[in-house]
Symmetry: C2
Subunit: 202 residues, 2 copies
């Protein structure tokens, strides 16, 4: 794609800067998800994106800032979470399971979820992001469904997601690691349904 | 406890060797649980146990061997898991929840569980230990309860335990992090009961 358009202006940003930036972001997500925050390096991220490490610094500043920026969940996902409450009540667990398994099966969102989880134990920002997803996004959903301890329901769902994500994609516990996505949805749906709508506790 | 008994023999092991060994093991569990396998060092483990790093090598050999040895679950815990199947069927979820929350509230077993989970993403041995707990210990329990996909049930329970352990003790997601243990038992019991005895999936 050399000289792709005749209109490149000397504005200080190279033409293609957005594409390069997104390439670096994708490489960073991969690294954070595969190695966790501590072990991911600018050098390896740059190598995997095929750019000079200085360019990573140029675009994102510090490793902290890079992490925060590339580990944001797409607004589409957080918005979809609260909209799970909008459909029929009987079917909420299934809709939530479809949304979450869908996000985990998508490589980009999976990298974000796993990158947060794997970094959360060593990196306070990552822990804050995991907490925020539970106490903001999942809690918004639970609050829309019930006023009986919605925050507790949100954390039960969040814990389930974290456990299933680690078991299926990182630790590779069978048979979960090899099940088709649709079966994982079917397994999670009734648990989510209970966490959202059944009386809590025994 | 200097000179605790008059019978110390010159067998090549110092008197008190067992106590020292156990001190090192406890320090190692702490480190693996706080930092994960990669970031734990012989030097820091030795410092926290108050011994020379050479003594850690003397007792345990390599970091691999140290990890494997100190991260074994006490047989009492794995035996208790399968015995959950022995009592009344209606109450199985609660007995399992009591056993697991009890193990997590005990600092020594909690270090083992968290050390395995936190190391599992970067260290194949740790991942193998996590898989083994699910596919051996939890599966033995599930097989004793039902012949309807017991391995799948075991991994659902295992994922739940991993998620709750991370949320409550590592990422500190509220309100789960601050709930009394008895309430955590009450929250987990019905989910475990379903995973063990209800039809799977929706």
């Amino acid at each position: 794609m050399e000289k792709s358009s005749g209109q490149s202006k000397r504005t200080g940003r190279r033409p293609g800067a957005t594409a390069t930036r997104e390439q670096i972001a994708a490489a960073a997500r991969e690294q954070f998800s595969a190695l966790g925050y501590e072990r991911a390096t600018f050098r390896a991220i740059a190598a995997s994106a095929g750019v000079d490490p200085a360019l990573v610094v140029h675009f994102f500043g510090s490793k902290e800032k890079l992490f925060r920026e590339v580990m944001e969940l797409p607004p589409a996902v957080s918005d979809a979470l609260v909209r799970v409450a909008e459909g029929p009540r009987d079917d909420m667990g299934r809709r939530l399971a479809e949304l979450i398994v869908g996000a985990l099966e998508n490589p980009a969102t999976r990298s974000i979820v796993l990158g947060r989880i794997r970094s959360a134990s060593s990196h306070p920002d990552a822990a804050a992001l995991v907490r925020e997803t539970v106490t903001r996004d999942l809690a918004r959903l639970a609050v829309a469904v019930t006023d009986d301890r919605p925050e507790t329901r949100a954390v039960l769902i969040g814990a389930e997601v974290v456990g299933v994500a680690l078991a299926r994609y990182v630790v590779l516990v069978e048979p979960l690691a090899s099940l088709p996505a649709a079966e994982v949805v079917a397994l999670l749906a009734p648990t989510f349904q209970r966490h959202l709508t059944a009386p809590l506790g025994d």
